[in-house]
Amino acid sequence: MSFDAHRCPNGHVTYPGHTRCPECGEHQETTIDLSERRGEVITWTHSTATPPGVRQPNTLAIVEFEVEETSVRAIGQVTSDDVETGDMVEPVYAEELRDPDIGIKEPASQEWDGYRFEPV
């Protein structure tokens, strides 16, 4: 799978995508794949009180990517518990980020694969 940020005709970029651009209300028309890019950790946490089906501890980070003269942020699991603000990371694909069959959400209602962040 790709790791798509979405762009509207006015150059605003979001991850994930939305029906209308949250900034200007235009339809988002193009995508930018973040999976081959490096990003910078803005902040992170070790979450220890995790819900059913989620790894424990669950180290999470908000990561900022530079794209086409702007930036876009994404959130996700970190592959290592050893991470600091300002670290550079790259996306690594994982088939199943949490067990879809245990949580409250209907398994078919959303995707469960995605990208973790690996410090480089």
Binding site: W44, T85, I104
Partner: protein, 383 residues
Amino acid sequence: MDVAVIGASMTKFGEREEWIRGLLSQAGDACLDDAGVVPGDVEHLYVSNMSSGEFEGQTGIMNALAHDLGVMPAYSQRVDQTSSSGGAGIYAAWQSVASGASDMTLLVGGEKMTHKTTAEATDIIASITHPVEYKHGLTLPSFAGLTARHYLEKYDAPRESLAKVAVKNHKNGLDNPHAQFQKEVDLETVLDSPIIADPLRLYDFCPITDGSAALMLCPVEMAEEYTDDYAVISGIGGATDTHVVHERDDPTVMGGVVDSAAEAYEMADLDPEDVDVAELHDMFTILEFLQMEGVGFAEQGEAWKDVEAGRTERDGDLPINTSGGLKSKGHPLGASGVAQGYEIYKQLVDEAGARQVEADVGLACNVGGFGNCVITTIMEANA
């Protein structure tokens, strides 16, 4: 039409035997008595609740409560705005009276949660997140950890300042007989408690709680038929911020707090300096800083200095969370915003007992999600 609050009630918050119908009925019944209103005079009934279906499999609770309290044929509606369902209920109840649609509106908020494990309750609450957040196991506490780290690093604030919010609110809760915890904690206990979402620890978080609270609203012109002491809702505002939390330009700014407060101040024709007492949504200690800044009590990045200086203590010049806040009082989701209204009302009509402070203007800020939906309410004493 100006809207008055003429009565209020709340149940004991904590681990309760009653299920959602029983909790709502207790608070609703007590509120009718407190206001001196007979059931047949209630024209609108709003029930603030996030997830009775998910927590206990009971839906349609607004109609169940209308029947149990004998207020038929009153119009009834359940109000869900996640953690800010209570504030949204105040908004709906205020609208019903201000518009002239109802001359007597009962608002009851409640949630039954403690029969679930912490992990199950956390998952029900985390189901408000976007799928790209949920699949990574994001929870509300983890958003708090991510935000707290960013705040401390960006503003060079000491970790202890967050712990002092917990210490203060537990101290205030000592004098609240309805609070889940009437237990003082010291700084070391907070700082040594287990990590939940680094840098935040167990005592930075509110507990999981059962409970209910209620308010009675009517036109100001009718209030004096019932009581000499009432409060007036002089300003109220509601706003949304992004659903996806990481899409906010500055993670330390809650846009919904800023926007809803601006709307409430404008309606009330008041400024932040006019507020004498406030209830803020301290689901996590860091949220008290973000709301102090968002509603204009402190400059961006400086709320921690006011906490360090003791300004927000009960004997400080701006007491915050005299009730003990969500931190010590507990956080039964749909009840919390209504219980904030209960505390402000009690402060304004001089019925807050040992918690009483000198106050003519009170503000409540009720936050849903991680700042996703916010209601700010300003009340003034009638005298």
